[in-house]
Amino acid sequence: MLLISVVSGLVSGFVGGYALQRGGFCMHSAFRSIAFEKEHSIVRSWLLVLAINIPAVLLLEQAGLVFPARAPLTVFAGLIGGLVFGLGMVLAGGCVSGTYYRASKGMTGSLVALTGFVAGGLMVTRGVLQPVRGWLMRTELSVAGEEASLYNLPAVFSTGFFPGFGFRWLIAGVLVLAIVIFLLRAPKSRFTVGWSWWQTGVVVGLVAVAAWYFSALEYRDYGLSIVQPTNALAGWLLVRESGGINWASWFLLGLIPGAFVAAWRAGDLSLRVPSARRLMQNLGGGVLMGWGANLAGGCNIGHGITGVSTLSLGSIWATAATIGGVWLMTALVYRTTAQPQT
């Protein structure tokens, strides 16, 4: 079983890393583009990933192969954590997965941001901010005591009513249909560097489905995630604590060489060192991302892809807060840089 976990994790991670690099799949860019840009191809990739995963997770659940864990709706932890994570993404110059794949192609700023991300995470999980997280996570909303999910919302209006799979398919179907209609209206890209949005979306989407399946084989009822395996690997490296090592850890270890090979094949491999000021900004952004993701209980992948695919209200809430944080910091940066030089 360990061999299956290690091999499938490394292979999925390699393919995932390759796809992220070739498709330039960065959710910081995606979230920013919604409000600040006319080009939405990465948003389309993300939505395609969701359109693949929402029904796939439901199908795996109905088949009894996966019993998805849904992120709790911790109101304040999700809001504050998501906002801080979004602010940090702008300063770090990328989302968590984006930071991993950019570091793999020699971008020193991303490597520094990644270091900050790990340090920030340790502050929350093992350090001075641990009580803050405990306090913020106290306020949790549930749907009649059940894990909060869009699927369970009817129970709010009718105590004791929990929808069967027919109702779940109806909700999932409406959402997927809406996404598909939006995607079909996408303009044709004339100047594509690397993979197109749909190629990236399909490959990342299939890797995310594989994550659910292979994780379930080792009794981990969750899909792709970055924060938990980052913490687990940091825990193992620092204090030889192996309790959190699982499929997601192998995925993360496979992602780095996958992204490296993709960059190498595309001739995009080079050591890039920004200014000291920019490096400090990356470091600060990384620390904020570590704080935010660990307070919110997940990042752009754990919440933004995996959690949203389960229609967890906690993940939708945290992702919305992250988008808010990205917009806020982007607006601040634009405003600052738009000031006339005196």
Partner: protein, 348 residues
Amino acid sequence: MSPMRIRALATVVLLTAVAVTAAAQAEWIYAAAGAQYVVVNPGGGDVVHRGELSVADFRPGESGEAVATPDIVPTPGGRYVFFLFPGADRAIVVDAETHQPVWSVSLPAGTRRIVFSSMGTSLWAFTGGSSWIELSHQRGRLTDSGRRAASLGDGAVAFNRRATRVYGNRGNDLVFALTASGEVVQTVTLQGGPYDWQISPNFRFLAGTSARQLVMVDEARGRAVGTIPGAFAGGVFHPSSREFFALSADGNAVLRIDAARGAERSRIQPPLALAAMFAQADGTLHGLAPSATTSAGASGGPALVLDLAGNPRVVPLPAELGRGSAGGAGGVSAAGVTLRPGGGFACF
């Protein structure tokens, strides 16, 4: 050697090291009779620690009275193991890293059973009738004097993942109640209860065992998916949650049950009549036999039956446990303990 090959070699070495470390599990079986306890390594069956349950402020049997066999209840993270002495209203806490008793905790008067919430933040004490007291718990210590909780009957209480729901008996039925208010949000109508309830590790299935039948409930759908007639004495979920191992009341059969369908897959014949079972994190099933009496006539004290479903092996427990005491299964109680340092699922 080229730099590329050196990098590849270093990666292989790192991955192998992580794999080897990840494979190592800290798992133990704790067994007790009276104030004596032993810790057994389920892998090899060797006793790694033996000692007496005694701390400065609580020494069971100190004044010469018979010591009842304690119930063994590990915390969800496995770091601490509570030994509850019924009648004494106290539990001795053992640190599962050192296997040493570290302190005792005071429990509400008349406590007969204790149950931890799934995240270990609460300890529920059953004091008889339908009275449950909820106490705050942190790292092996109780941090308040407790408050009366919802009436949930005499069956074992189970919690969902976030401990926002609690499950228990109301007559024959299974009720889903809100932990905070006790308000019942769902009732699953059943026959043949009341049941002893266990929730699967992924919090999806509830297995109820009684003297008349076994029932499997799908928590997400709020309905029973299958029943199996017969007298049962509890059981244990496979760590995958996909299977439940049910122990027949006479201890002579273990039913392997498909959790999603509530149907029997196969039946295991243990070499000794069992009183309890435990599952390791990798799914290996072990049992506790109160008496090592076999059909061949050999007899002895209590024993463990390791790897029940694969290649069963009888490992006699030390003689001091064989002398036993009142209560428990044949005067002995046992529980499996898995230490999960940093293995929490708080972050995705």
